[in-house]
């Protein structure tokens, strides 16, 4: 069985096993073990040359994200192993949580690796179902609200995506040979000769469908609430992984349509949605009281920035966009680790209740401060490099839009800075009995710092192979 | 040869101006007294006062620091140095290359700061009051001076007093309206810088209106003598400056043989006398203005100076 399939099926088998493990300790350990195995396979896969196996393909576009997903999945598993006992789950929910987690991981890998657009759609649907169940896990009315909203909106979204997929096939049908229907590679091959009108129709539905999952304005409404409910690790993987998968799906669609000269240019659509996301999120950030909602909105902003980059097109802007996705996954999940830990320590996730972390929990406080600063686009994180690249290119090509983008970034940055000051520096707020004993403290802190280190390393000393891969990917998606 | 003449001229100039300072003050006071119908003290009276003060032991406030003792020397030294630079009867003196208008302003500022700090040293209300007023007025006088310098610099191409004097002497500039504006600005600055009416009253002892006197209120003995002498030097310096720039006739040209100096000397004495007369007349004619009207006075001077410069731009632009 090729590694590409192994990495998908291993988590699902693990899920089956985890569903049978009632004890927290073992389940958490097994969860970490499975995730670690997934990470190992991902690395091995990255070492192999690009290849296609049936419905899956490993290419420059998805391999970096595959490795990233496996990495974030592993760190998140570690973090949840350290903090999950605070959630006070009974054994049913422990089983459900871990099973759903691994189901989601498998679906995520499949969605990234899928070469067949239909398979990709199915994978994203499975991921949605898994995450919905995890968001609803707390069984509070608020959790149900958020889960239901998430479910309905994304359900409609993927329904639209399916329609888009069908239309896409219809467009390519006359040129495709029987076997390779819906294969992205095949579609790319025949795209230049497809009926442009049909491609346009397909693109609109794919964009709106997967764009809903990527949280682009005006399809974003589910995102902040979904990030605010459920266990913290869910927020981390939602922001860190699921959004990337959706954005990659949009990119594949964009690549197909962009390959056809007669079809409409897909760029302006992405530009418009991206700019709208950045601007709306930038102002909405100022009204947030709840830390996790706040960072959910910041995810919308960053997805908007990435969409803007891809809308701009061209090797430089695309590279900036890909880097931005990578950097955002690392920084945002790191921030969620920090916020989750802080919420444990302070017994609340309201921004007003989390204060003076630097004085009460120095390591956590400074780690969170650096992470938020990195999220605001300050060095030395990867987001700084990507935003620099994007703004530089945008300023050269579309000065006025670049100005609007920069305006949004400044406003959002000011909001982030304000929250950073409030949470890390302000007067220390009374803490709850949130101390983790022994290894848990370290295990809860390590992922945060690890992410920061990786993000910094990628920004300043990216491995040549990875850089080359990303450059090729940037060319691939046109 | 010329070098020796220049050095000689410089030495003569310094001696002359040092000697002239008390006398000039005395003359102005005497003239004012005459104009206001009093007999007035002998013109040499200031000199006698200085000598008398020198013989007295100064009394310092308990908490006065080294500043009170050092400041008078700094102020006097700055005044002497500045006075040594302003050409009087001859041009091309040894220190002529140094004689830069901005440098002179800087030296005067040095003296001013020394005086203000001395005023604050004892920690008394009047000293601080005088210091703050002095520095504030100077803040408004400085721009007027520089703008006047701008006019001169445009005409002469430099701010070197010697060169300016030469240009205004030989150069066929004729009568420039801008020069008139610059003159007014400089006169206003001179009045403020020398604490003359209407900005300040050198003879007052009503504390609330004092500026200079307030700062030297604590000084006595040789310190007071130095303060007084520095003030006299400043007055002489300003009058010499005005005469050198705006009444350049009669000056012995650079490198000229000593017999030209006699003419220059006589011309200079005449000019200084005339200026002293004008000053006395002016001061006895008008009254001191309220402290917070001074900014308007200096602001007007500044605007006049700017106007002069602008007119000059226009004329140079046309020609």
């Amino acid at each position: 069985m090729p590694l590409q399939w192994a990495i998908v099926f291993l988590p699902w088998l693990g899920a089956a096993g985890l569903a049978a493990l009632p004890r927290l300790r073992q389940a958490a350990a097994a969860n970490v073990a499975v995730s670690a195995a997934g990470f190992a396979i991902a690395l091995a896969l990255a070492a192999q040359p690009f290849a296609q196996h049936g419905w899956t393909r490993a290419d420059a576009l998805n391999l970096p994200f595959l490795v990233l997903s496996a990495f974030v999945g592993l760190t998140t598993a570690v973090f949840s192993a350290a903090t999950l006992d605070r959630e006070g789950f009974d054994h049913w929910r422990i089983r459900a949580y871990h099973a759903a987690y691994q189901v989601f991981m498998g679906a995520q890998f499949l969605a990234l690796l899928a070469d067949n657009m239909g398979v990709m759609w199915v994978a994203i649907e499975i991921a949605t179902l898994a995450t919905v169940s995890m968001v609803a896990l707390h069984r509070t009315p608020a959790a149900f609200e958020a889960a239901w909203k998430f479910f309905i909106l994304c359900g409609v979204g993927i329904a639209l995506a399916l329609f888009g997929t069908i239309v896409l096939y219809l467009a390519a049908q006359p040129l495709l040979t029987a076997g390779n229907g819906l294969s992205w590679a095949a579609l790319m091959r025949v795209a230049p000769d497809c009926a442009p009108g049909t491609l346009n129709l397909a693109f609109v539905f794919l964009l709106l469908g997967y764009g809903t999952k990527a949280g682009l304005v005006p399809l974003h409404s589910w995102l902040p609430d979904a990030h605010a409910e459920g266990p913290v690790p869910i927020s981390a993987v939602l922001s860190g992984l699921l959004l990337n998968a959706a954005m990659l799906a949009v990119l594949r669609a964009k690549a197909v349509v962009g390959a056809n000269p007669e079809a409409i240019a897909p760029g302006p659509f992405l530009l418009a949605l991206g700019l709208a996301s950045v601007l709306l999120a930038a102002v909405a950030l100022w009204r947030r009281r709840d830390a996790r909602r706040f960072f959910g909105w910041s995810s919308i902003e960053h997805m908007g920035i990435a969409a803007f980059a891809f809308g701009l097109g061209g090797a430089a802007a695309n590279l900036a966009g890909l880097l931005h996705l990578l950097g955002h996954s690392l920084a945002k999940s790191a921030v969620f680790f920090g916020v989750g830990r802080a919420a444990l320590a302070k017994g609340s996730q309201k921004i007003s209740d989390i204060g003076g972390l630097v004085t009460t929990h120095p390591a956590l406080g400074w780690g969170l401060a650096v992470a938020i600063a990195g999220l605001a686009g300050l060095p030395p994180m990867l987001l700084f490099a990507s935003e620099f690249r994007l703004l530089a290119v945008a300023a050269a090509e579309v000065p006025w839009l670049a100005l609007a983008l920069a305006l949004g970034m400044v406003v959002a940055m000011a909001a982030l800075v304000t929250v950073l000051q409030a949470m890390c520096f302000g007067p220390a707020t009374p803490g709850a009995a949130g101390t983790l004993e022994g290894w848990r403290e370290a295990a809860a802190a390590a992922p945060l710092w690890l992410h920061l280190a990786v993000a910094t390393g990628l920004a300043l000393a990216m491995p040549a192979g990875l850089a080359a891969m990303l450059a090729e990917a940037a060319r691939m998606i046109g | 040869m010329a070098v020796i003449w220049s050095i000689l001229a410089q030495a003569l100039h310094i001696a002359l101006i040092l000697a002239a300072a008390p006398v000039l003050t005395g003359v102005v006071r005497w003239l004012k007294a005459r104009m206001t119908g009093r007999r007035g003290a002998h013109p040499l009276q200031p000199l006698r006062d200085l000598l008398k003060l020198l013989c007295k032991t100064p009394v310092l406030a308990e908490n006065a620091s080294m500043v009170s003792r050092a400041a008078p020397y700094v102020a006097a030294g700055a005044a002497i140095a500045a006075a040594a630079l302003v050409p009087s009867f001859a041009r091309g003196m040894a220190l002529a290359p140094l004689a830069d208008l901005i440098l002179v302003a800087g030296l005067l500022a040095l003296g001013r700061v020394a005086m203000a700090l001395a005023g604050m040293d004892a920690g008394t209300p009047f000293g601080g009051l005088g210091a703050s007023r002095e520095m504030s007025f100077a803040a408004l006088a400085e721009p007027a001076l520089v703008v006047a310098a701008l006019t001169l610099a445009i005409l002469a191409g430099t701010t070197n007093l010697d060169a300016v004097a030469a240009t205004l002497r030989e150069g066929g500039l004729g009568l420039r309206v801008s020069l008139g504006f610059a003159l007014v600005a400089l006169v206003a600055v001179a009045i403020a810088g020398n604490a003359r009416i209407p900005v300040d009253n050198p003879a007052t002892h009503l504390e609330l209106t004092m500026v200079h006197e307030a700062m030297t209120l604590e000084a006595s003995g040789r310190h007071l003598a130095l303060w007084e002498y520095a003030a006299m030097l400043r007055l002489t310096l300003w009058l010499a400056l005005l005469s050198a720039v705006f009444l350049p006739f009669g000056q012995a040209p650079a490198g000229a043989a000593p017999h030209h100096w006699v003419v220059g000397l006589l011309a200079w004495v005449a000019k200084m006398g005339a200026l002293a007369l004008v000053l006395a007349a002016f001061e006895s004619a008008i009254a001191k203005m309220r402290v917070f009207r001074v900014p308007e006075f200096l602001g007007a001077a500044l605007l006049l100076g700017l106007l002069g410069a602008v007119l000059l731009f226009v004329s140079t632009g046309l020609t």
Binding site: R287, L378, M413 | P58, N63
Partner: protein
Amino acid sequence: MLTVLALLVGALLALGVAALPLARSAAGAKAVHGACVAVGALVVAGGLAGLLGGAAAIALPFGPPWGPLRLALDPLAAWFLLPLGIVAGCASLFALGGVRGPVPARLLLPWPIFLAGMLLTILAADGFTLLLGFEAMSLASWALVAHDTAAAENRRAARVYLGFAGFGGLSLILAIGLSAGGAGDVAFAALREAPPEGWRAAAVLALVLAGAGSKAGLFPLHVWLPLAHPAAPSHVSAAMSGAMTKVALYVLARFVFDLMGPAQPLWLGAPLVALGAASAVLGALRATLEDDAKTLLACSTIENVGLIVIGFGLALAFRGADLPALAALAAAASLLHALNHAVFKTLLFLAAGEVLHGALSRRLDRLGGLIHRMPWTAWAALVGVAAAAALPPLSGFASEWLLLQALLAAWRVGDLAFQMGVAAATALAALAVALAAAAMVRFWGLAFLGRPRSPRAAGAQESGGAARIALLVPAVLTVLLGILPGVMLDLAEPALRQVSGAAAPRAGLFAVGAADGGARYWPLAVALLLAAAIGAALWVVRRAAPRGLARGPAWDGGFIAAPAHLPFGDPATQPSAAGFAQPLRRMLGESLLAAREHVTMPPPGSTAPATLETGFRDPVLAALEGPLPRWREAVAAQAERLRGLSIRQCLGLTFGAVVLMLALLAWLEAR
């Protein structure tokens, strides 16, 4: 040499990491600061080497995903290494002297990183490296500003500061991108190839002014500076005022003189002159009104930055009018003043820190009479004050004299509007210089002269050792720079050539001034003349007057001596900070800074004290904290209505998007 400097950056970063464990012990903290002193010395050496030797460039083996980090050392950068090195050395030395036990890591760790950021910014040879250093500098200094989280105003300062830092960074990125063009190659070499023209040049200039200007404290983006600089520890304040603003000015110079190409129109200098004049006057005026010693010094930094920028603007205009000699003169004024200001402002901030440490207060109204308790600090500070007040023969006068000469020569540019504007700028610059003198007299006189205004000030203690040396070094340098500016300008000649695009005229080792027939300034001769005059006065008085002094109570126009129940005299009978500022507050403050004062006189017979309330507010800060947030709130309120939607309405949004796009498609296909 460049390699050594690059290694220095790495060493500083490593030092920052090592500071985490080292902070636990006093010896460790001492070691870190000592290493920073050494680095400062090395940086100065590197600057000298760069000025004497030729230019060099290297590409680091690592960097962002699209290329290596490039470093270069040319004369302009080398010149700015001098202030950086001097300030870093002195500040670190002062901090070394202040170490008395373990130092909190959050105070020790960012310091080397701060220095590394500034060094990297100056050495950068491509846009990304520049921004990397610039932002690292901002971030580290922000951490140092935010170190004291207890005080609300410090948190506010840190917040405003970080906001401005981010804004400046984004502006610079846009500027780089705009001048880089579509290819997206941000190497300086590539930027030089295709300099921006027309509206692009204007836009780049505006963006650079926003980016570098906000960091340098240029009007109207100066408001964070008086908040942030005082909030940091004193040696950090010194570095921020002395070095960081210079680094920002270096970025400005790098853009306008180098990256934007040699052929820029005359008008490009006008905005710099205007903004510089505005900052100079506003900063100096605020300095005369502030009653917090370190805030006062920070405002004076704004003033000096303004003067330097005026010089840049003039140089730009002269270059545009093809007057290279005058361009060199103006640039010389700016570069020299940048160095001088760095030195004497460091001295003053360190002295303020020493006062804060000795008398436990920064408020002028709680100091006084310190010259008796802390003589070393007092006299060292006096040197800095005299330099800041532009008194001959100290360093401040030399550079400001050059600047005035450049202003007086600016009419040669010819354009009438420009001439008039420059005439006004000349008056404003002179006003600023005189105001600065007033502010400095106020600062020194109130802090060190008179009688103590608080028991702490009466019992102030002076700390010797490294801190004292850290005060004496810049004091001596101030004197030397004042007496030998000619030497420095000869040293700066390559940088001037680079800036003015032509060989800079030399006035000789002992003189400065415009070459062709213009006025000259011989500082050494002036110093000698002054010394001779003072000596003569001293000699004469010694000969004529009797020796000896008598001590008595202050006469004070007939006031009684201090009552017994006030051990150090009644401090209220001295001029207060607000009182000293009164004339200028009334003359200029009311119109420029909306200053107000309110006197409440008790009715006759009442024993209640009369009170004087004064205050002013910076119009820009008022605008920043007034309308801007209101607008933001209004927009946010509108955005909130989107958020309050029910699921059905959210679906409505999706539906609307679908229908809209379908309609768009139909329309496109119909066409």
